[in-house]
Symmetry: C2
Subunit: 471 residues, 2 copies
């Protein structure tokens, strides 16, 4: 029975606590209420009874729902029974908030029980001084292995890797390998393949577990191993690694250092998080919200958003100066001021559409060779076609509203120009940023709207001025 519990799958543990999530997958409100009551009353054992059996990912969700004091109460009341891997599942701001309040000795005890990759993701956020204090409180072997991971650059494969893996020599048989695994107590928690290495820990091949199970005991490992290898450099960016997982449907991959020595493995569950984060990042960058979390403080949020708004203020003032050039024109015909935002707004939206498609295609590396030329051509044509469609629509509406066919023709002409410009800018701006090695998601939006605003106002007011002889 106790063995049963040992083997209990993390994933299922949530189910043990009965009614933890409702049908929509949200945490049960009654469950939370009970936990809050226990926390308030300081009933450490009851807190442990309800939180203890949860999967660390569920514990993370619970922490995110609690407020600052409740979170600290939970961690303090559970003490050494708190599973620190839950901290890898919460927003960075919450993680830091909790770790700052805990004594380094408590962090060291918590980190000691974690997988290498989880421990690294907690330690990398700490101040250097605290980090060193925690590290020096750890057993030698763990300290060295964590230090080694932390030496790799931020967001590299080396930071995300798990350093426990099974490496065997090529001359073993399937039988040897199975016996070794039955005997050895110090195996990784979960693994999907075995690595065949030479004496210098250079990887010679990999063997998926199912292949070992299908082969007879006498089969030499060398004869069943994969020799066309996918290996990832520990210094490589985690996004690049995630792209390999996605492209080749990988579940686990070996990580090697600059000398080709195997130092760890990356597993797909960590890469899923990276893929999610990457898509999210583009999303946020386009809107200028940096790497904000919903649990960030007001001050952090203001700080993260102001720079983007300042840039927008500059471009808005610039746009306004373009309008200012036509002061006299507007004075003679106020209808122009009323209509001009329509041209700018339509251009802005069309530009955003093209830009979104381009930014995502760049992020997914979909724009090789011929596809790029086709995409540019298509976007310009789409801009032209949409320009015609909306020129007719707005032209007719304007002519009817003001009983002035000429005004309708002017706005129609401006619309066609701005829609073509929108399509062109929507694709060329992100492409140029990409060529300049800047992240196209970060600055495209502001450039594209500036272009469509300026061109929209300029074309409309300019054509009107010429047409009606208002200059």
């Amino acid at each position: 029975m106790s063995e049963e519990t040992d083997w209990a799958p993390d994933a299922g543990a949530a189910l043990d606590s009965g009614g933890f999530r409702d049908d929509d997958g949200r945490i049960n409100a009654l469950w939370m209420e009970r936990l809050r009551a226990f926390l308030e009353a300081g009933r450490a054992d009851d807190v442990t009874t309800v939180v203890g059996p949860l999967h660390h990912s569920d514990t993370g969700d619970v922490l995110e729902q609690l407020d600052h004091n409740e979170r600290l109460a939970l961690v303090r009341l559970m003490g050494d029974r708190f599973d620190f891997s839950a901290l890898t599942e919460v927003d960075e701001s919450i993680r830091l908030e909790i770790m700052e309040e805990l004594p380094n000795a408590a962090i060291a005890r918590g980190v000691a029980g974690l997988d290498n990759d989880d421990a690294v993701s907690l330690l990398e956020d700490l101040e250097p001084h605290d980090r060193n204090e925690v590290l020096s409180a750890l057993p030698t072997f763990e300290r060295l292995s964590l230090k080694r991971s932390l030496d790799f650059p931020e967001d590299s494969a080396g930071r995300r890797m798990q350093t426990d893996f099974i490496a065997i020599p090529p001359f073993w048989t399937v039988g040897h390998t199975i016996d070794y695994m039955r005997r050895e107590r110090d195996l990784p928690d979960e693994f999907y393949q075995i690595y065949v290495v030479d004496a210098a820990y250079k990887v010679l091949g990999t063997v998926p577990l199912d292949r070992i199970l299908r082969s007879l005991r006498g089969t030499p490992i060398e004869s069943i191993m994969n020799t066309t290898l996918v290996l990832i450099d520990a210094n490589e960016d985690q996004e690049e690694a995630a792209r390999q997982f996605e492209r080749y449907d990988l579940v686990e991959v070996g990580v090697v250092d600059e000398n080709g020595r195997m130092v760890g493995v990356l597993t797909v569950d960590d890469m899923v998080d990276v893929i999610q984060e990457e898509a999210d990042e583009d999303f946020r960058l386009l809107a200028g919200v940096g790497d904000e979390d919903v649990s960030d403080t007001t001050v952090d949020t203001v700080r993260s958003r102001v720079p983007w708004l300042v840039i927008n203020l500059f471009t808005a003032v610039m746009t306004s100066m373009v309008i200012g050039l036509f002061n006299a024109t507007i004075e003679q015909m106020v209808a122009l001021a009323v209509l001009m935002p329509i041209v700018a707004s339509m251009g802005g939206n069309a530009g955003a559409q093209t830009m979104t498609v381009t930014v995502r295609a760049l992020a997914m590396r979909e724009l090789d060779g011929g596809r790029l030329r086709r995409l540019i051509r298509r976007e310009v044509v789409v801009g032209f076609v949409n320009g015609i469609i909306f020129a007719i629509l707005i032209g007719v509406v304007t002519a009817l509203r003001y009983g002035d066919v000429q005004l309708g023709a002017v706005i129609a002409a401006a619309m066609i120009i701005n829609m073509i410009v929108a399509g062109t800018a929507g694709i060329l701006i992100p492409l140029t940023l990409d060529k300049l090695k800047a992240d196209p998601a970060i600055a495209s939006a502001v450039f594209v709207t500036t272009v469509t605003d300026v061109v929209g106002f300029f074309a409309f007011l300019g054509i009107a001025g010429l047409w009606f002889g208002l200059f």
Copy 2:
């Protein structure tokens, strides 16, 4: 030395064809040139020699880079040597384009060699008539298993599942199980766990492969199986299934029908694609570009974008009518027309920031209970603080530019109002759509900018009219 090359670290099979990808991970231009020459010359064997060894994901990338005629030439020249699973890796429009040109008999031969989930994803795009013709050309067992999967709703777990899996009775030992796997020829290609089922195929437990390898031959399977199970209903939406994978770090999970009978398995590689698509979808919906691919035709692209632009035209006209209310005011003071887009644009951007954070938090199910209240409060406060900051900035700039402190005060007041409204609308609009069971990504952007435009223009022109007594 040649052995060295075989094992060089980077995407497996791709290497066999020598320099298939360059350092940036893009397909080598020279490689493509050579392939194009072979295709043009109709050299079937050479085409097969260079494309054959590629991973199907790489073949998919190659297909995407070719133009329409080259794609067809490739598939026709390779004939039965073409791996149809490459078609699961290309944009839907390209997939359909190729399948439409192929005779159904050729599709049937190609599909017969595929895993069940890949076959389903090709067949589900076909017209019912073609689909039935392909199905009836397949061997009975495959036909029935595919039909069964196709009976599940679109985008359900049942459509994405693999129907090959290993199920054993609970009374077997580890030894029995290993012997069975050594003996049985008809096993799935790759698998990560074994399912323990009763006579009615109801799942009793799961055993990860590493656990079998660590246990002695005499160990009863029942004593080492996981009994707290995560199972997915075949009718469940694939996004919900993907969320489970993400939350619980799963690699493989059993799929059961409405009677609790095990019918298949989902693996993490398919879920990675779903996670990617889901994030992507929100991204595209916000910009109003639907589920476009970069390889869509011009006509499809126009068709997908026009509806969004029509909505935007309506709201732009509405906004323009709000400005029209202040015709007389603008006539008396043209500076208002020059300045008004600044207030609207700043509000639009601030609103987009809040909206982006909210839409993503809703998609990730991060807004349970207390966090929601905190987020609303934070966004309103952030709007107020940013309002003050930018009110001062633009107020000073305006006062200096026009030498008119009063005009500066008016634009400052309008800015504060619009920034608070932006924060409030940016969070309440997606929340309301979510409550109404609409996808908040799809319509939030247009509502939020309409609100910030209308309020921006109205507040600025209205305050100016009152202040300067222009009504």
